[in-house]
């Protein structure tokens, strides 16, 4: 008998668990236990034994395993079909997925299949006293946050951006693995994956970086973008960007912070030529120390930082690099 009321999709591809599935498990445990609920990680795939144990070690009360040879490669229709059956049978109150390539697709399909609402790309989750799941999503251009919920349909679903919640700590195993029934036919797998290719992994550099130097539209040109990189290298930090430098081709897409809910939490963040629009600032609000360099004293980042320097970064950064180097010499 499955007891868990919150189910967390433990995304697996090629035998690897996605970190966001563990982050969500940790958050779900924090939400569920005060409410008297249990939490299950849900594994869908084939030959998943070891992964089940791993999920238990991160605190899952139950690991629900849907194992079938036809599920060895992800296909939205087959995965949604088996999960729909399990949901109808065991009636969880909440179903969470990572807002990854797979989770966004599966979540959407599954929500339509069981006719429920889904809060997409959340950067926060809350459980109300009436046990309603509220997903915090950045609204229109990120200038406000909206709390979105589906109070009248079940399960209440959400996808959550990777990196929003911390990884849970490993602990003594108290939960158990429960295999679920699977009813699947070959025709339920509706496309064939010919190839999966991992490209040169720029591995979540920003999410893991302790120091991030980010530039905004105020940098003005590709040539001056060099200053952002040089400051980052002087502080052994990663380079981040707001949307416009990415659109202008000064920075890479994977360096963008804040837009579509990407969140980072470095110890030190220095924003250069960044005005402080909400969608970017929401993405860095977990930083311990926020330093802003901007020549416009009215820029809104100067209300949202710890230390502010008003001036031309082309003058400030060379001085700053020199001062930093004086400590290492």
């Amino acid at each position: 008998m499955v007891q868990s009321k919150i189910w967390v999709f433990a995304e697996e591809r090629q035998g690897q668990l996605a970190e966001v599935g563990l982050e969500l498990l940790g958050k779900a445990l924090d939400l569920a236990h005060p409410a008297g609920w249990k939490v299950a990680s849900v594994l869908v795939g084939h030959s998943l034994n070891e992964l089940g144990k791993r999920l238990l070690s991160f605190g899952a009360d139950e690991v629900l395993v849907v194992d079938h040879p036809l599920l060895s490669s992800y296909c939205s229709q087959s995965h949604a079909k088996v999960l729909e059956n399990s949901i109808r049978q065991h009636k969880p109150e909440v179903f969470l997925l990572g807002a990854t390539a797979m989770g966004s697709d599966l979540g959407a399909r599954l929500a339509a299949r069981v006719r429920t609402g889904l809060s997409a790309h959340c950067i926060g989750l809350e459980l109300s006293s009436e046990k309603k799941l509220l997903g915090v999503v950045p609204g229109w251009g990120g200038n406000v946050l909206a709390r979105v919920y589906s109070p009248h349909t079940q399960p209440q679903m959400a996808t959550v951006m990777p990196g929003v919640f911390d990884m849970p700590k490993e602990r003594k195993i108290t939960g158990r693995v429960i295999p679920l029934d699977v009813d699947l036919r070959p025709e339920d797998v509706t496309y064939r994956v010919l190839e999966v290719k991992r490209e040169a992994a720029q591995k979540d550099t920003l999410e893991k970086a302790e120091v991030v130097i980010a530039g905004g539209y105020g940098i003005g040109s590709k040539a001056d973008w060099q200053w952002v990189k040089e400051l980052a290298s002087a502080l052994k930090g990663a380079v981040g960007a707001t949307r416009p430098p990415v659109d202008e081709g000064w920075a890479r897409e994977d360096q963008m912070v804040g837009q579509s809910g990407r969140t980072i939490h470095p110890k030190l963040y220095i924003g250069v030529g960044i005005s402080g629009q909400m969608h970017h600032m929401v993405g860095i609000k977990g930083a311990e120390l926020i330093v802003a360099i901007n020549q416009d004293p009215q820029a809104s980042i100067f209300e949202l930082c710890d230390l502010g320097l008003v001036g031309d970064f082309r003058e400030i950064i060379p001085h700053l690099i020199e001062a930093i180097k004086s400590y290492s010499d």
Partner: protein, 264 residues
């Protein structure tokens, strides 16, 4: 081959500062703000036009929007779509992703036989990215998101490349399918004056709820399971300390702090 492209008119981001919220329904007030075709939907249309150029067929655009969106549909026709369908009815207002997908899917059913349904992976405004997979679910056909290339092998097989974390996968799919595209897929063509003139002669049909067999309750604000509970202004104010002086003085002070904290 019939290619259906879902085009969403979205408020031009250049005018977002003028957007308001209806305090009662908590939906967006977009009156007076010019619409553009959602940029990724424009790329989906370009992908459809390229497939038509290679394999022949018909490109139909489909939008659910108020009648004020007609200019956006004209733009789609000027790019090269053969005809346009606008789903417009007060009853559709306030639809969430599930309701929107249900209405679009019901309209698409009237367009059988269809081979490919294309749209953008994300819209600029709502940004839930749910609709493509949900339309596919209501139609009970396969879908793939994050698509960055589509190659027709023959009339029965497509090779579709889809972005995943740090890489991509290639899937072989048989039409009909729903694909949502990412920005890497192409650069949409420019529209010439001649294209605009030619578009004037093309047909725009307007369908209301009466034209669709909407047997399920998932229509409009009332039929939408997702609701906005409230808006939150993020609490982000910090104790701001402005460093004073010439650049050399400010930076010396900053580097001193960073040194004490162990960063240099």
């Amino acid at each position: 081959m019939r290619l259906i492209v879902c085009l969403k008119p979205v408020p031009d981001p250049k005018h977002w500062s003028r957007l308001g919220l209806d305090p009662k329904t908590k939906t967006l007030i977009r009156e007076g703000i010019p619409n553009i075709i959602n940029p990724l939907d424009r790329k989906a249309l370009e992908a459809a036009l390229q497939l038509r150029e290679k394999g022949g067929g018909e490109v139909v655009t489909l939008s659910m929007a108020p009648p004020s969106a007609l200019s956006v549909l004209r733009e789609g026709l000027a790019m090269g779509a053969d005809r346009s369908i606008l789903l417009s009815d007060l009853a559709f207002a306030g639809s969430d992703a599930l309701a929107t997908s249900y209405i679009l899917a019901t309209a698409i059913r009237k367009l059988v036989p269809y081979d490919l349904i294309l749209c953008g992976d994300q819209t600029l405004d709502g940004g839930t990215s749910l609709v493509s997979a949900q339309v596919a679910e209501f139609l009970d056909i396969p879908n793939l998101m994050h698509v960055r290339s589509i190659e027709a092998q023959n009339s029965r097989a497509l090779h579709v490349r889809s972005q995943i974390e740090h890489g991509y996968l290639v899937a072989e799919m048989s039409p009909p399918v729903v694909l949502s595209v990412v920005k890497e897929i192409n650069e949409p063509r420019y529209i010439t004056f001649m294209n605009i003139l030619a578009a004037e002669k093309k047909e725009i049909q307007i369908w209301s709820s009466k034209d669709l067999s909407l047997s399920e309750p998932w229509v409009g604000l009332k039929g939408s399971p997702s609701q906005m509970a409230d808006l939150v202004i993020p609490e982000m104010k910090r104790k701001v300390e402005m460093l004073k002086g010439e650049p050399s003085e400010m930076t010396k002070a900053l580097a001193g702090r960073l040194h004490r904290l162990g960063y240099c």
